[in-house]
Amino acid sequence: MNGKNEIIREFEYFIGPQHPGITGNFSIKLKAKGDVILEAEARPGYLHRGFEKLMEQRHWIKNVPMVCRICVPDPDPNEVLYAMGVEELAGLEVPERAQWIRVMVLEMSRIQAHLSYLGGISGALGLYTAPQWMTGDRDYLLDRFEELTGARVYHIYTTPGGVRRDLPEGFEDRLRETLDYIEKRLTDYYRLIFDNPVFQKRTIGVGTMDPDWAIENGVTGPNLRACGIKADVRIDDPYLVYDQIEFEVPTETGCDMFSRAMIRFQEIQQSINIVRQVLDRMPKGPFLNKPGNPLMWRVPAGDVYVRVESSKGEFGYYIVSDGGVKPYRVHVRGPSMTHGIHVIETLLVGQRVADVSPIMFSLDICPPDIDR
């Protein structure tokens, strides 16, 4: 080779941070030989807002409007986690009604997050009807959120001590209607997505991960359950009132993109069942046990790790208090940190460039939660 006629065999691709196939502001640098990826490098940081540091400079109550922003598509686990952690540190009792309302909100949030997930992965594969339907149906659920919490996306509803407002009048009936509608649509979704030969061809056997490897590398949530491992914080370490609720944890054995989408699809049904149980069994009573004066309230010194099962996997908050009016440190353990950096870098190797977006969507990566 003399340099002049050198054949270029390897390319570098930059996918993101502004790319329709990327979830949020995130970037992946690829090295590919032809169409086959040799090396992938996840590049987060485009969305860094310094929330963990900011929280150290805000009073305990003033962090409530901030935590939901750590995960845009599924904000409620953040709110509930922060509240649970602070309550545990402060020894603050939560009224029982508030605990049931929190479960309802978490599951509603899971449904809408999974709907947007299914829309996203279908869109990445070129099935454009699905995102339209999912987004539209998700909007009906967001209407319920708007009635309950006053906002559609950043609900800012759960606060240490309970929830900020009680259910509005007639809310239960309207929520049941919405759930019935979404349940009815599930058949259509199944036929639209999972019966679709394109979807099957592009997802079955693509982006697989070994179950043992998944456990070793900290994969959690639906992504782990798609490898046949029945792991769910709601069952393993019940919080709120999940131990009083009956539901199944679906698992799949494909370990591939199809299984991961299928798990989400099945979980929508489970979540609908949970919300219905909550609506049936929610006790009457107070919804908020007020914490202290918002500007003066001091939480006793100590540290706590709390975790919930979010739509993306295990979400955890490690909160340290030095006994002051502000947190000493809040660390967020988001599932996307694992899935979005190490896991995707490994999974992409050997895949085709066209599969980058679907694989990313299938892992349900939420970049704001990497860059909190």
């Binding site: 409007p65 987004t135 539209g136 004066n293 500007l295």
Partner: protein
């Protein structure tokens, strides 16, 4: 399979009748939910400008700015929240800490502006109820959802049946736990400071108390009040009337918090550690050893003046000592705080009545400045027939003699005339001296009584019989010239134009009688300025009603070098106002004597 696949697309026809997600014409406007969080609306008249919203805002989107045409006055400021919608995240916590409920989030969520930085149409503006009016939908607060601590720690009291027989204190005092919880309710808005005549740094000392740092609290008290525990027991607590938490819930027990913190410190002087002042070699005479005189003496001593108090009685404290009964203000508290002031080297001449034992001219000649704080020690009479009967007395006299340990003889059935705090003190003292039945006659309604609500309730609980809308017209004497009965008429309330309080008008044709053997007048007091020689009295400027001395902003009267304060200056006539006047006069005397200004 092939046939099924052939027909499969036709199943999509079933979606034809469905309501579409996409927007179709005619355009359906989105109906926001009932509690949606949109742009702010603020009732500028109702808003008191406390700034809680700016304090709680995580995004620092709210700034308090001064607004011209809003109501000003007691318990409010002219500041109103200005919201920067480039920062606001519509969380609604500002609404949840609004003590008045004036701040709301409306259901208006769309707004278009050509120039976001324009001061008129831009995205930074002061929300009012015109730009985005609240129309029944949006995020509002209520006592149930408010983040404010609206519940107060109640002060434990002794049972009325038990306490009405002795002069022991009515209140039991806070436990430390209750005091700390109560102090932690403060949001630090400092609206209460407007209520305090002497402008005590209430949020600062509540913060110190919340940290159980009572020494720091005492340091803050003494900036402008040298009698904190006395005020912490019997103050009229205008601060609590101003407290923003009182609008939706119960105000903070600022008075008892102060009393609690002061009671935790035994030796003020050691804690305060004021340095020995530089000697000024100038002399100040203080006429009257009441709260105003003691306050002036304290702050003048700190500045190095030689201070002499001329006290007509053989005890210091003025009305605090001889007017307020011991069940409200224990002697130990009085001793502690008065002795602390005297310890700084204040000379006291007891039993020295100016005008009798020493002349005012002499003082004027020998001293560089004079402070008059003689108070209101002359009771008023009604001027009805039979007032010369035996068993008719002034409440001021009755309370003074009781407090000095020589209670006047009273009968079994006592009638007190009046509706102020003095009247309440007289009724309750009469009960404690063994009266079997105590009646309280007042010409207006119970709500119109100037006495504080808690005094009224305590008196009622102890069994004082309130007789509102009654007016004594004659005292009937028996053969020995003693009180036998009191004739009275009922009154009706006649509304007055111009928002004035209704006037009681007697119903003449019905005359009733109470059988009583003692009548105590508590219908008001007047100053006794007879100690001043005519020549000085002429120069002294009084207000239009002739009841109060006019002073300038330094507390100086129309006579140069003569300052005044307390009841004779101040129509509010309470201890904390006297302290405020004494503090002001001490500053004024310092300015006057150091030739500044």
């Amino acid at each position: 399979m092939a046939i099924k696949n052939f027909f499969e697309p036709f199943t999509a026809l079933k979606h034809l009748g469905m309501k579409p997600h996409t927007i179709r014409l005619p355009y359906e406007k989105k109906v926001p939910a009932d509690r949606v969080r949109g742009f702010h609306s603020n009732d500028l008249e109702k808003c008191i400008g406390c700034g809680n919203c700016a304090q709680i805002c995580t995004c620092q989107a709210i700034k308090m700015v001064e607004v011209e045409d809003v109501p000003d006055g007691f318990g409010r400021t002219k500041f109103r929240p200005q919201v920067d919608y480039g920062r606001c995240s519509f969380c609604g916590q500002c609404v949840d800490v609004c003590p008045t409920g004036s701040l709301k989030l409306t259901d208006k969520i769309v707004w278009v502006t050509e120039d976001p930085f324009d001061p008129e149409t831009g995205w930074v503006f002061i929300p009012d109820n015109k730009k985005f009016p609240y129309e029944g939908k949006g995020w509002t607060t209520s006592p149930e959802t408010s983040l404010l601590q609206l519940e107060r720690q109640e002060m434990p009291e002794r049972d009325p049946e038990e306490r009405k027989h002795d002069f022991g204190p009515v209140i039991k005092g806070f436990t430390e736990e209750a005091a700390l919880i109560e102090a932690s309710r403060c949001m630090g808005c400092a609206i209460c400071m407007q209520g305090c005549p002497t402008g005590m740094y209430i949020p600062h000392y509540l913060n110190a108390i919340e940290h159980a740092d009572y020494e720091r609290a005492v340091d803050i008290f003494f900036i402008n009040n040298p009698l904190p525990e006395i005020c912490g027991t019997i103050c009229t607590h205008r601060c609590e009337d101003a407290c923003v938490l009182g609008i939706m819930g119960k105000p903070i027990q600022i008075r008892y918090e102060k009393g609690f913190a002061a009671s935790q410190v035994d030796d003020y002087r050691k804690v305060l550690g004021y340095p020995e002042p530089e000697k000024k070699n100038k002399k100040v005479a203080i006429i009257g050893g009441g709260p105003g005189g003691l306050t002036a003496a304290f702050y003048l001593r700190l500045k190095g003046y030689d201070v002499t108090i001329f006290e007509a009685l053989d005890v210091l404290g003025g009305m605090m000592k001889v007017g307020i009964p011991r069940y409200r203000l224990p002697q130990s508290v009085l001793d502690k705080e008065i002795n602390h002031i005297i310890d700084y080297g204040v000379e006291v001449k007891y039993n020295t009545r100016v005008g009798k034992d020493v002349s005012f001219d002499e003082l004027k000649k020998n001293y560089d400045a004079i402070y008059i704080g003689v108070g209101y020690h002359k009771g008023l009479s009604m001027g009805i027939p039979g007032e010369d009967a035996e068993g008719v007395m002034q409440a001021i006299y009755f309370l003074r003699e009781t407090n000095l340990g020589r209670p006047p003889k009273i009968g079994k059935k006592v009638l007190v005339v009046g509706g102020g705090d003095v009247a309440m003190d007289a009724t309750r003292t009469a009960l404690r001296l063994g009266a079997e039945e105590v009646l309280l006659s007042y010409r207006r309604r119970i709500v119109d009584m100037p006495a504080s609500d808690e005094e009224k309730h305590e008196a009622m609980a102890e069994g004082v019989k309130f007789l509102p809308q009654t007016l004594p017209i004659e005292i009937v004497k028996d053969e020995q010239g003693k009180v036998k009965a009191v004739r009275y008429v009922k009154t009706k309330m006649v509304p007055q134009p111009g928002g004035k309080r209704p006037k009681p008008v007697p119903i003449e044709d019905e005359v009733y009688e109470w059988d009583v053997d003692t009548v105590i007048y508590a219908i008001g007091q007047a100053p006794d300025l007879s100690f001043l020689p005519e020549s000085w009295l002429e120069k002294l400027e009084l207000d239009s009603r002739g009841k109060h001395i006019v002073v300038d902003e330094n507390g100086m009267t129309s006579i140069e070098g003569v300052f005044a304060g307390g009841d004779i200056v101040n129509p509010r006539a309470d201890v904390i106002s006297a302290i405020a006047d004494g503090r002001k006069a001490a500053e004024g005397i310092h300015k006057y004597l150091s030739g500044k200004e």
